[in-house]
Symmetry: C2
Subunit: 344 residues, 2 copies
DNA sequence: CTTTTTTGCGCTACCGGTTGCACGTACGAT
DNA sequence: ATCGTACGTGCAACCGGTAGCGCAAAAAAG
């Protein structure tokens, strides 16, 4: 025989009072007499009563669930980000509904759809690298589901965003390289569509220009971040008449692929050619050749901020709503982290 | 002015029919006349009506949400596992509520509590390495929330489990090493509490015994999987009068820490001492010294199976429930994967 | 001792759907 | 003409709580 979970109804029946009395007694309503209150609360404890969150959330049109969509959880950047999101969520009694886009816009749409169906209170997303239309996300507006973008943010003004100012970071990194004597600095960038790529490129061009050097577009390669594509880029760079002295790669994964290719082609890593990268993932400490320097983008912090922002937005919902809505925009300042050079 | 979401009520009002008619028309009930049906369906389409899942789930006491608790999402093993879980979930229209225990039983309890409050339909969990009491999980029984354990499973008979048969895998690996001529095979194991550790140790002892060799317990170290602890173990092993010819490590992370220590102490990795490990994570391909061989535990497959099992259990719920419940137990067969030896 | 206020609790509607049952109408069969 | 039977639709209960309002009894004020 199934031992049904206790409900207010059950408690009310046993105590011969009404459900509303029970409800109020449990929430410590002042208008309930002390003796009834204690009777109710004691029985509740005895029965291990716990209010059915589903029912409450349903009534209050709130679930304390925020959807989180990431391209790939297996990338350490994102697993750190979700940890930051989770931490902030727990602190405010929110939970996370999880989904991956696998960098596929169709899949992304599908996951967004699922989240919408589940009526999450809000959605935090780092866009798939192929996503260039945002209809499926803007549609959430109608459902009153706020969206906070982080790291891979859309080119929209009307959106809440948390991201890293890679323009400045990249310029700094390029300067750092020049100061160290690397004259020909190559750059393996990501897909043009990605705003992250644009930022990086802008920063790179700015950095090179600052050195009063002519920009050599042969030094700039664009990839889709796949290993093959990175190897292709490396092939081109190594085939140049004047090989680069240093190579900046889009992130640590691209870095690892680039280094792998270079090693196979008898380049002494960080000696013949210096490698620098973005992300500063812990895992690079275990890799054969960590980059000489890496731009730390604080994924945990970004995720954390994104969730904090979401909670603020959610809390403001009841507020005055004085006509035009304001959109929040938070930049995280990246820092350049030097690594122990490893030359094998 | 907020543009409220359409409800059945709204449709009913506009069409001057009752909500039940609308509801039935939308679910294509045979008793509704064709003309009404189309009228309703057309208006629904026009208003972009979508049923409120929360209301339905509430009524049906079902949410299509399954909780997933992992020790660390940043470990590739678990990020792959959750991907497997997610894939199976999507296929059956389930979603995942995510939480990490950070290998901390208190935190695990807290997360379980949260999931319970949210009334997830089921819970899939890989235990924290310190967890040795399961009350907080068995308590879910009362709430009719089934639990499926995977990889790090409890020592309980009365539980649904999906895990890897590492006993057999370890024996095979030890044999493989002996066949290759490694006579003294050391073993850096995880915490005793972990059933995974016990399995491995059993397999190791079995493997050594099969070679008709005396078991040397100096060759067996126990760690808590932290880097410090692994370095400590390595220190002891390297201090032995007869150093091991090969070292089996608990997993690829321990492997990396062990190798790091060995390298710092001028051991030629995989030449002076051979290293083999468990997990076979993709990331090891980028590391300085991948293990010579690794036991693939198919985390994606394990996660996938766990979710499939969960769905089966959930679907069986309505069924006859002929008294005693049966518990499912699925073993995944690991395989030994050889790697390109890298000796620098 | 009446009037007003406070105290303690119940009735009922509501959130957004689903579903068993009843009711009225039209239609073919007897 | 009468009866059984599809057919099409509405009423109302229900899921598990919350909350406004009303009402009686007790306490305070007049």
């Amino acid at each position: 025989m199934e031992n049904k979970l206790p409900t207010v109804k059950e408690i009310a029946r046993r105590l011969n009072v009404s459900v509303s009395t029970v409800s109020r007694a449990l929430s410590d309503h002042p208008r309930i007499g002390l003796r009834t209150k204690t009777r109710v609360q004691e029985l509740a404890k005895e029965l291990n009563y716990e209010p059915n969150a589903k029912a409450i959330f349903f009534k209050q049109r709130k679930s304390f669930i925020v959807g989180v969509i990431l391209p790939f959880i297996r990338e350490e950047f994102f697993s750190q980000a979700i940890s930051g999101i989770e931490a902030a969520a727990m602190e405010h009694d929110y939970t996370i509904l999880f989904g991956q886009s696998y960098d596929n816009p169709d899949r992304e749409k599908q996951v967004v759809e699922t989240m919408k169906k589940q009526r999450v209170d809000g959605l935090i997303i780092s866009l798939s690298k192929e996503t260039n239309k945002y209809d499926h996300l803007q549609a959430l507006d109608k459902y009153d589901i706020p969206v906070v973008y982080f790291d891979r943010v859309p080119q929209l003004e009307q959106a809440h965003k948390v991201y890293c100012d890679l323009y400045k970071g990249t310029t700094e990194m390029v300067n750092w390289l020049f100061n160290r004597g690397y004259r020909r600095v190559a750059f393996i960038n990501g897909p043009d569509k990605l705003s992250a790529s644009k930022e990086r490129l802008k920063g790179y061009l700015e950095g090179v220009s600052k050195q009063k050097l002519k920009i050599d577009m042969q030094m700039v390669e664009t990839t889709d971040l796949s290993r093959e594509s990175t190897h292709e880029a490396m092939k081109k760079l190594l085939a140049l008449k004047h090989r680069p002295h240093a190579i900046v790669t889009f992130n640590d994964y691209v870095h690892m692929d680039a280094v792998q290719y270079a090693e196979q082609h008898n380049i002494l890593i960080n000696k013949d050619i210096a490698f620098v990268s973005y992300a500063n993932l812990p895992i690079t400490n275990y890799t054969a050749y960590p980059p000489l320097a890496s731009i730390e983008q604080y994924p945990y912090g970004q995720g954390n901020k994104a969730m904090e922002l979401m909670i603020r937005i959610l809390n403001e919902k009841g507020m005055p709503t004085n006509g035009a809505r304001t959109y929040h925009n938070e930049k995280v300042v990246p820092t350049l982290v030097m690594h122990q050079p490893v030359i094998r």
